[in-house]
């Protein structure tokens, strides 16, 4: 049996898919657990959060300048 150190991520399925897509470019996922959970490398967490936020920002529309 093995014990692997990592970070457990809990999210909704949409975010998980985004993370899987990000993983294609630069792998950081250790294991996919189920639709809501992932285990990733511990030191990558901060970078992942920032990239995820940037990705989600692309989806939002704000009424600036009015």
């Amino acid at each position: 049996m093995r014990a692997i150190k990592g970070v457990l991520l809990q999210c909704d399925p949409a975010v998980k898919q985004i993370l899987l897509a990000m993983n294609e470019k630069q792998s950081f996922i250790i294991e996919e657990l189920d639709d809501y959970h992932l285990v990733i490398k511990a030191d990558e967490e901060y970078r992942i959060r920032r990239e995820l936020e940037a990705e989600l920002e692309k989806n939002t529309y704000s009424l600036e300048g009015s």
Partner: protein
């Protein structure tokens, strides 16, 4: 901390004053020394709940103790819970030593309070007044009020602008130290920034804010080797003083004289010069134990700090009828301000402005309750007060931040058999460290702190089985 229970006539308990739990945590000795001064007794009496006050008055003029049953006979059935709570509270304050048999007031409290009511005793605890000095006249009431307001708003404004120095003056070092110690501001990246606690503080009424700061001051006093009884009795003496009258500093103890500087900084007293031998209490001081507004409502067309001035529309537009720079700065924390007029500030609640606020630790609940508390009287025609769409959206923006939750730990996988897996899993469950499990895949995720125990457990097992 006051009990967060909504007062509901007879059935539930009324909220307590912020100072009461602090007093209840002091020793009997300290409290008895405090009760030697009539002005302290009077001030504490005013902070009590109505039923507690009535109980104290009932027992005040009696010479001997009365049986518990006699007093209990006066209680109506509806009031039993209130009565019991009142007796417990008074017991914790050592005003009414608890007893199953007889009820009698603490004798020191009784004597001093009788002196307070009838006037007498020799403690001089109501403050020694001095004659007006025509050569060096003191400020009149209006100037005193504006002095207190200016001092107080300097502190609040510093908190809101997070030390960026937009407001002309800065509070003194002592005040800054107090703000930091009390958790209202924190040293982030080298500068003092307001915390989530601090924003909640800004929400409260001036009375609550004042008492919160004083409570912090009292906590700090213990560390600074100041005699707590002296500090408290000076504060209580201030609360019984008369506005517009000068008092002498000659009869104050050393501790109390040291407090003068701090009290000047908070706007509680005014002195002509730092070493002056007389001082004037301001309205902030004289209304310490009452619920009248401690700060004057401003004379401009805008309303004072305690009333509503915000109008919020369903299109997220916000109109604030104020010209007070402090209130504008508070709004700037979570609203994108667009226009400023002499009596009106217009802005919009946008995703960016709310996210900025959320990042500095302010929660969506705090924003919503600030808006409700300061809603313009005209808004009260709406039911609910704030538009539901705006409230929901602010909460949703907060939830956006929390889409991804993370926890550090270890993934335990590749177990030899189902039995092995279940054994280790049960052990981990007993330690409450399991964050995720999957029986089909035979793996589970445990938290970081449990790892050492689990590893030890497994090693013992494998060691035992060879």
């Amino acid at each position: 901390m006051p009990a967060a229970v909504v007062p509901d006539l007879n059935t539930s308990l009324p909220t307590q004053h912020t100072l009461i739990p602090f007093l209840q945590s002091q020793s009997q000795n300290t409290l008895t020394r405090l009760y030697q001064k009539p002005s302290s007794c009077l001030a504490i009496f005013r902070l009590l709940a109505p039923l507690e006050r009535q109980l104290v008055m009932n027992l005040l003029w009696l010479e001997s103790a009365i049986p518990v049953a006699t007093m209990a006979a006066w209680v109506a059935r509806d009031g039993k819970k209130l009565y019991d709570a009142a007796v417990v509270n008074l017991g914790n304050l050592h005003i009414l030593p608890s007893s199953m048999v007889k009820l009698a007031l603490n004798s020191t409290f009784k004597t001093s309070f009788r002196h307070a009511i009838t006037g007498g005793g020799t403690s001089g605890s109501f403050g020694v007044p001095v004659e007006k000095d025509d050569k060096r006249p003191a400020l009149d009431l209006g100037a005193l009020d504006s002095y207190a307001l200016e001092r107080w708003e300097t502190i609040l404004h510093y908190m809101v602008s997070s030390g960026s120095g937009q407001y002309p003056s800065k509070p003194s070092q002592g005040v800054l130290y107090l703000l930091q110690r009390s958790g209202l501001m924190a040293n982030i990246h080298g500068a003092l920034q307001i915390t989530s606690f601090g924003f909640q503080f800004l929400l409260n009424s001036p009375h609550e804010q004042l008492w919160n700061l004083l409570l912090q001051y009292l906590h700090m006093a213990e560390e600074r080797q100041m005699d707590l009884v002296e500090v408290l009795s000076f504060l209580f003496m201030l609360s019984t003083m008369e506005l517009g009258r000068e008092y002498s500093t000659e009869h104050l103890s050393e501790t109390q004289k040291a407090m003068l500087e701090d009290l000047r900084d908070y706007g509680l007293i005014w002195q002509r010069k730092p070493n002056s031998r007389r001082f004037n209490p301001t309205r902030l001081a004289t209304t310490l134990t009452s619920s009248s507004p401690p700060l004057p409502t401003s004379t401009t067309t805008s309303s004072g700090p305690a009333e509503g001035f915000i109008i919020l529309e369903t299109n997220y537009r916000l109109y604030a009828y104020t010209d007070n720079p402090l209130q504008t700065a508070v709004l700037n924390l979570f609203v994108t301000l667009k226009y400023r007029f002499p009596n009106l500030v217009v802005g919009t609640i946008t995703r960016d402005s709310v996210k900025k606020a959320l990042q500095s630790g302010i929660s969506s609940d705090q924003i919503i309750s600030y808006l409700s508390t300061h809603a313009h009287p005209q808004m009260r025609k709406n039911n609910p007060l704030l538009p539901v769409t705006v409230q929901d959206q602010i909460r949703l923006w907060e939830l956006e931040k929390n889409r991804l939750k993370s926890q550090e730990g270890y993934l335990y996988t590749a177990f030899a058999s189902q039995a092995d897996y279940e054994l280790v899993l049960n052990y981990a469950k007993q330690l409450n460290t399991v964050l995720w499990e999957n029986t089909a895949k035979r793996c589970f995720f445990g938290s970081l702190d449990g790892h050492a125990n689990i590893r030890g457990f497994i090693e013992r097992r494998t060691g035992a089985t060879g």
